[in-house]
């Protein structure tokens, strides 16, 4: 199921989660252990953050033996990156409607 934009923004609204996500984007697939070693929070905290990112569809987990590997799902960011183009279309259309209204208004 596709996560909503709200979930994506909420998931990435936390600086620690954003840092984890950026690291996964940059370095590729990582285990929870490696991610914990590179951060200054505990392993349970890292796991919890990864859970939030996973529910928002931003990362995917792969189990291998006793380790869980995480990697980013960059396509999940589309609503965020599309923000400007979304509003650009919106406002251009509204400007046309505004012009139409002005033509109909009393001077």
């Amino acid at each position: 199921m596709a996560a909503t934009s709200t979930q994506i923004f909420a998931a990435l609204g936390d600086p620690t989660r954003r840092a984890i996500f950026e690291r996964l984007s940059r370095d590729g697939e990582q285990t929870v252990r490696v991610l914990t070693d590179k951060s200054h929070v505990s392993q349970p905290a890292v796991s919890k953050h990864l859970g939030v990112l996973k529910r928002a569809g931003l990362v995917r987990a792969r189990h291998s033996g006793r380790q869980t590997h995480y990697r980013v799902q960059p396509k999940a960011l589309a609503p965020l990156v599309d923000w400007i183009s979304h509003y650009s279309r919106f406002w251009h259309e509204r400007f046309d409607r505004l012009e139409n209204l002005l033509d109909r208004m009393e001077p």
């Binding site: 934009s5 709200t6 589309a78 990156v81 923000w83 400007i84 406002w91 208004m105």
Partner: protein
């Protein structure tokens, strides 16, 4: 896309109508509804109001706003919060020989009003820039 472009959207258009008339269309609730959205806007700084679009899946259609600047016939600004994204909209009206040059500037990935997003204020822009490179690298 450069960093500035990810933060601010600018749309300009010249209308063959006076700034006073354009101002009315921007600040009178019934007129705003005709071209933008249903609303309970009042041209009073500090007034909190909502724009109401047609609800869609996963979105109530409600945009939470607060009036930030009211300079009659010249400048109007309000915040624009939806989907956890807090932006601001600034309208600038400049009289021209034949009418009005209207400029709309929407900017921000700030978080002034939504406590849930506090702490994100200074990080979003850089993050978005980085992520655009990630997504761009896929194509």
């Amino acid at each position: 896309m450069n960093t500035a472009a990810t933060r601010t959207l600018v749309i300009e258009k010249e209308f063959a109508h006076s700034p006073e008339k354009v101002w009315r269309a921007l600040t009178q609730g019934a007129l705003i509804k005709e071209w933008l959205m249903d609303n309970d806007f009042q041209p009073v700084v500090g007034h909190r109001f909502t724009f109401r679009a047609t609800p869609v899946a996963n979105w109530s259609g409600v945009i939470n706003s607060e009036v930030l600047v009211v300079e009659p016939n010249e400048r109007l600004s309000y915040s624009w919060g939806s989907l956890g994204l807090e932006t601001s909209v600034v309208w600038t009206l400049v009289a021209t020989k034949t009418g009005t040059l209207l400029r709309m500037e929407q900017s921000g990935f700030g978080s002034d009003q939504d406590a849930a997003y506090k702490g994100a204020k200074y990080g979003w822009t850089k993050f978005i820039g980085n992520m655009e490179r990630v997504v761009g690298g896929l194509q």
